[in-house]
Every structure is written in structure tokens, then in C-alpha cells.
């Protein structure tokens, strides 16, 4: 990786921009999600000759799809992605007042600001954290994995028990295959399972096929919405003036979004609600939130894109993804031989620099891709939704197959799709399941290595200072949950 100049070669720029347009399309289509967008683009990116182009495609999609989710949230009061749910309040209220274009420009520019702050935080914090993480041994990594999974379960919207069940299922599935000692587990004699469950087909199934099944099961009602009328024309300068007026709301929300994004399992949706609640509490116009206030648009949208950058901090440094989108990106990084951990900056320095540069430039490209998305939304809405879902099915099948040219992966994808649909119907969150699948081996390997080192003694797991700090964090996640839930509920309803 030479520097920024390589990013602007045709071989990188074309797939990058195409990926971002795909992200806009998926994010802006009600019923499709940012997670699905990233899961579907990974097999395509993997096939590109230039790994920088592949990384650019994945990173571009992950940021763009989060913004694009705000478009249907504003126009139709249906979020394109869970991270855009907060945009259904003031954004949609502004749309009803004929100011949809203004709300979406605020969304777009604040997404760029939030994204830049999140990426800058990533660039500044991750290398320092990596130096600190060099002090970690098996004991600390065990607790880090446990913390990541437990926090993702604790902040799950359907309750900690369901979150923990999801984590347990994911971890149990992660034991399939040959373990680090060479023992064969749960393969049913199939060589295809020796490498364990393939992550990308599993994620495509969980987030792609399960959504298709939900669409079919509800007869399309899962994406029903009410459209508002035409928007009055307003200039971009007007939007910038509004952002300047509320610049501290944007900056504070982006910082909060980065911090929340860095918490495992919290993700962009919680970041958006948290920022909305904070803006409401600290604003002089708190009581007018939800009625079409500019601050109510600026806060959540600054936070949700910042959370994407924030989520990459623990993902790169510890291999602990912050949310489902980051989990998929992390899986893709592994495909590119970028192994997360404290030594990532030494082992894969060039690739990490490329990732940082791509993430930064993506924010500026987002202005173009986002503008196209805003303009193309009425066209996207006219597409027959059933046909789009069938097309998603075909791309899910091809994407799963293309990873290893293996039909077995298609079966894996379908099994996870059906399981994902069933579990979501029972309010089991899917993100902790994916995190369990990814972090399960890390937890088991570090537990075994730690026990072997100490001749079977558990004492160091509970007495080393960083272990104690992680255990306290874990306890705080569960004790603090009711308080956080109250804060979030107040943000939504007051």
C-alpha cells in the first residue's frame, strides 16, 4: 500500500463506488438491512484481484448502508436499518411538514461528520490500545471474550436471558470442527465441517434468508409504511447553517456514538438512541423533540455512523467485534489474512493503514453516494418488493457458494436462515449469536491454555489486575442495564 494515491486507481475506485451504491440501495430499501448489505458484498469483494479494492468495497458498504437507512425512516417512518430507528421521530416529523429534503441533508452531512469523528478516534485510540493490549495473556483474553459476549447479551433489547441464550447457541456451534488439539467434534463425518461453521454463509443466512422468510411469512407486512407528500426545495447551505448552529450536538453525539459503538454488542442502533436521549436532555427545546426538531435529526445520525468507526476499535485490537456488521467485516478481514489482535499494527501494518485511509475517504464519497440515494429513493420504492426479496435469495445462494465453490455452504446458509427466522420470531437477538460463533474459539482456547499453564488452577483468572477490571466491567454491564434502559426509554418517549 503506497498511500492515498493507490486508493484513487480505477481498479479500486470503481468497485468502491459500486459497493457504496449497493449499500445505498440495500440500506434505503425497507426490509433489507445494513448487515445484509455487508454480508452479501463480502463474497463479491473476496473475488477481486486487488485486496485493497475488496476492503474498500466492504468498508464503503458498511458506512453507506447505515446512512441510507435514514432515507426510508424519514420518508416512510420505517427505518431502512435498525440503526435508523431514531430517525423515524424528528426526521419523519420534518418530512410531514414538507421538509424531507432538509432532514435528509442534515442526515447526510451529520453522517459524514459522525463517520469522520469515529474514524479519527479509531486511528488515534486503536494503536495506543494495541500497545496496552500487549500486556494481555490467556487469562485476560479469556475475560475479554467473556466480557464481549456478556455485554452483547446484557444490552440486548429483548432481555439478557435471550441474549445469553443467543450467545450460548453461537458458542456451541463454534465447537463444530477440529479443535486446536486436533479432536474432531460434531462433524457427522462430513469433511466440509472439519473447518467448522463457515462464517460468511452463516451470516448471509441469518441476516439475508431470515429476512426473506419474514417477508414471506408476514405477506410483506414487515415492510409496510406510510409515505408522506412531496418535499419543499431547500438549499444545502440551509442544512450547513443548521448544523453549524447545533455543532456541539453533532460533536457530542458523535463522541458518544464512538464510545457506545466500541462496547461489544451495543452497536449503531443503541448509539443513535443514546445520542437522541442525551440531546433531548441537554437541549433547551427538550420538550419539542419528536415534533420535527433539527437537533432530533442531527444527534442520532451523527452517532450511528460514528459507532461504525468506534466498533472497529475492539474489533481490530482484540478481535472482539462491537456489533453484527463489524462481526461480518471482521470475518472478511480474516479472509484477507488480517488477523485482529494487539500485533495487528506490526503484522498487517500496510493493510491497517489502508483500512484507515479507506474509512476516511469513504466519508467524503458518502456525500456523493448519499446524495444519489436521496434522489433515487422514489425509484427504489417503485421496485416490486417481492421480486427484490427473491433476488436477495439468489444473491444469498450465489454469495454463499462463491466463497469456496461449494454447495455445502449453500446448505449451511439455508440452515442458518431458517434458524435465524425461528429465533427472531422467538425474540432471540442474532448479533450475540454471531459474536458467540466468532468469540467461542477464542474463549475456549484461552481458557484451556490458561488452565494448562497453571496446572488446572483457576486462581489467576480472578486475581490478575486486568482480569479483575474486566470482571468489574462485566458486573457493571448487568447492574447498569436497568439504568441504561430507563435512560433510553426516556429518550424515546419523553
Amino acid at each position: 500500500m503506497e498511500g492515498f494515491s493507490e486508493l484513487f486507481s480505477v481498479g479500486v475506485l470503481v468497485p468502491w463506488v459500486l459497493g457504496m451504491i449497493f449499500g445505498v440501495f440495500v440500506g434505503a430499501t425497507p426490509g433489507l438491512t445494513a448487515t445484509m448489505a455487508v454480508a452479501l458484498i463480502v463474497p463479491v469483494s473476496y473475488r477481486l484481484d486487488d485486496p485493497v479494492a475488496g476492503l474498500a468495497m466492504i468498508i464503503g458498504v458498511s458506512f453507506t448502508a447505515i446512512f441510507a437507512g435514514d432515507i426510508p425512516a424519514t420518508h416512510l417512518r420505517i427505518p431502512g436499518t435498525p440503526a435508523s430507528a431514531a430517525a423515524t421521530l424528528d426526521g419523519h416529523a420534518m418530512a410531514k411538514q414538507g421538509r424531507a429534503d432538509h432532514a435528509l441533508r442534515l442526515d447526510l452531512f451529520c453522517s459524514v461528520i459522525g463517520g469522520l469523528i469515529g474514524v479519527l478516534a479509531l486511528m488515534l485510540v486503536a494503536p495506543q490500545l494495541a500497545k496496552f493490549a500487549l500486556k494481555f495473556s490467556n487469562f485476560e483474553y479469556f475475560w475479554l471474550g467473556v466480557c464481549g459476549l456478556s455485554i452483547s447479551a446484557a444490552v440486548s433489547q429483548t432481555g439478557a436471558l435471550r441474549g445469553l441464550i443467543a450467545v450460548g447457541i453461537g458458542m456451541l456451534l463454534s465447537t463444530i470442527g477440529v479443535d486446536d488439539q486436533g479432536a474432531v467434534r460434531f462433524t457427522f463425518g462430513s469433511m466440509d465441517l472439519y473447518d467448522g461453521v463457515q462464517l460468511i454463509p452463516a451470516m448471509i443466512g441469518l441476516f439475508g434468508i431470515s429476512e426473506v422468510l419474514r417477508f414471506v411469512a408476514t405477506g410483506g407486512k414487515s415492510v409496510e409504511a406510510t409515505e408522506v407528500g412531496r418535499s419543499k426545495p431547500e438549499s444545502a447551505r440551509h442544512a450547513w447553517a443548521a448544523i453549524w448552529k447545533h455543532k456541539w450536538t453533532a460533536v457530542k453525539s458523535a463522541i458518544l456514538g464512538t464510545v457506545i459503538g466500541a462496547l461489544p454488542g451495543a452497536g449503531a442502533d443503541i448509539a443513535a438512541w443514546g445520542a437522541y436521549g442525551m440531546a433531548q436532555k441537554t437541549s433547551r427545546n427538550g420538550k419539542r423533540f419528536g415534533k420535527g426538531l433539527e437537533e432530533g435529526v442531527i444527534a442520532p445520525t451523527s452517532a450511528n455512523n460514528a459507532a461504525v468507526g468506534g466498533a472497529w476499535i475492539p474489533a481490530l485490537v482484540f478481535g472482539v467485534p462491537g456489533d453484527a456488521v463489524t462481526a461480518i467485516v471482521l470475518g472478511a478481514f480474516l479472509v484477507y489474512d488480517i488477523v485482529p489482535g494487539p500485533q495487528i499494527f506490526e503484522r498487517s501494518g500496510d493493510q491497517v493503514r489502508a483500512i484507515f485511509q479507506i474509512a476516511l475517504v469513504t466519508q467524503f464519497l458518502l456525500v456523493i453516494a448519499g446524495w444519489l440515494g436521496i434522489k433515487a429513493f422514489s425509484w427504489i420504492l417503485r421496485l416490486p418488493r417481492g421480486a427484490v426479496m427473491v433476488a436477495v435469495t439468489v444473491f444469498s445462494v450465489v454469495g454463499s457458494y462463491a466463497m469456496r465453490d461449494n454447495v455445502f455452504d449453500v446448505w449451511t446458509m439455508l440452515a442458518f436462515g431458517v434458524a435465524g427466522f425461528f429465533l427472531e420470531g422467538r425474540k432471540i437477538p442474532l448479533a450475540p449469536l454471531i459474536l458467540g460463533l466468532i468469540l467461542g474459539p477464542m474463549i475456549e482456547e484461552n481458557l484451556r491454555a490458561g488452565l494448562i499453564k497453571e496446572g488446572g488452577s483457576l486462581t489467576p483468572f480472578f486475581t490478575r489486575p486486568i482480569c479483575l477490571a474486566l470482571i468489574l466491567t462485566l458486573a457493571a454491564a448487568f447492574v447498569g442495564r436497568p439504568l441504561a434502559a430507563r435512560w433510553l426509554r426516556y429518550g424515546k418517549t419523553a
Binding site: Q157, I209, V212, A217, G219, W273, V394, F422, R426
Partner: protein, 174 residues
């Protein structure tokens, strides 16, 4: 983002049963895991972790089943989308979709990607609201797009179909 304290505590029989079956199966199968005899002092071995997880899931599943039976009298029906609330139409659609997805995956081998997609997509697009000719046209466009993108640009060897390969071979040998 879903919200609702009421939904949060509602026990689910189907989930409980599924967890019991999953974890019970894992416990039975874990008996067949061979320890390789390399175990060192303090090593819990290859069985311990999956068995521990399976026991935890078994307990969670058992708890959900117990609570479902304990609370069935005071339970109210309704709520948001749920498996049990599906009516005949959607349930039939769902079963048909799952079966046709399985058939599609199975047909990829004998028919190949293009033919299997042409069999799978148009009926579903029609059933989900598109006209016949639109469904067929969109499917053809989809197949061409996938062939160009994956097979053409990325050199993915999409399944060609053993049936057609056999016919080809037969024609060549004739």
C-alpha cells in the same frame, strides 16, 4: 429496535423445546468426541467446553418449558409477529418457501445455477406480487447479471448441472 417489558418475560415453548433438543443432541454426540491422549495437566480436554455449554442451554431450555407450563393459564395471546400467530396463508407461504429453497439448493447440482434459478424465481416473484412476464424477464436479467458478475468477472465456477454435462457427454459420444 423492539421494546416492551411484557414481551421480554414471555416464555416460549417452541424455543424451550428447540433448546432442549439442540443441547440434548450435543450432549449425546459429545460422548463420541475422542480425546487424543495429548492432554496435559490441567487441560479440561476437548469435551468439557461443549458439554458445559450444552448443559447451560439445556438448563435455559428446561426453564423456558417449565415457565410456559407454569404460566399458561395467565398468558394472553397476541403481541407482535410470532410463530404461533401465523395464519394459514403466511404459514403455507412460509412452508412453501422453505421447501422450495431446499429444492433450489438441491437442484443446483443436477440442473446447474441458471436452470435451477429459472425454475425457482418466476413462480415466487409471481406469488409475491409481480406479473408473469415481469417475473420471467427479471429472472433472466438476474441470471445474466450473476453469470456476468460472478462467472465472468470473478471466475466463480457456478454449478453447471450434472444432467446437462451428461447430455453433453452423450451427444459427443454419439
Amino acid at each position: 429496535m423492539t421494546d416492551g417489558a411484557q414481551e421480554r418475560d414471555e416464555p416460549s415453548l417452541s424455543l424451550g423445546v428447540a433448546l432442549v433438543l439442540l443441547s440434548g443432541g450435543a450432549l449425546v454426540l459429545s460422548r463420541g468426541i475422542e480425546e487424543l491422549g495429548l492432554a496435559r495437566k490441567g487441560d479440561p480436554g476437548s469435551k468439557a467446553f461443549p458439554i458445559g455449554l450444552a448443559l447451560a442451554l439445556l438448563a435455559a431450555g428446561g426453564w423456558l418449558v417449565f415457565r410456559w407450563f407454569a404460566e399458561r393459564k395467565k398468558r394472553e395471546s397476541g403481541g407482535a409477529f410470532s410463530w404461533d400467530a401465523l395464519k394459514d396463508g403466511p404459514a403455507a407461504n412460509l412452508s412453501a418457501m422453505v421447501l422450495s429453497l431446499a429444492a433450489y439448493a438441491w437442484l443446483l447440482g443436477p440442473l446447474g445455477f441458471a436452470s435451477a434459478t429459472l425454475v425457482f424465481c418466476p413462480p415466487w416473484m409471481k406469488r409475491l406480487g409481480s406479473r408473469w412476464w415481469v417475473s420471467v424477464a427479471m429472472t433472466v436479467g438476474l441470471v445474466v447479471a450473476v453469470e456476468v458478475l460472478f462467472a465472468g468477472a470473478f471466475q466463480v465456477r457456478l454449478p453447471e448441472g450434472t444432467t446437462f454435462l451428461a447430455i453433453d457427454r452423450f451427444m459427443v459420444n454419439m
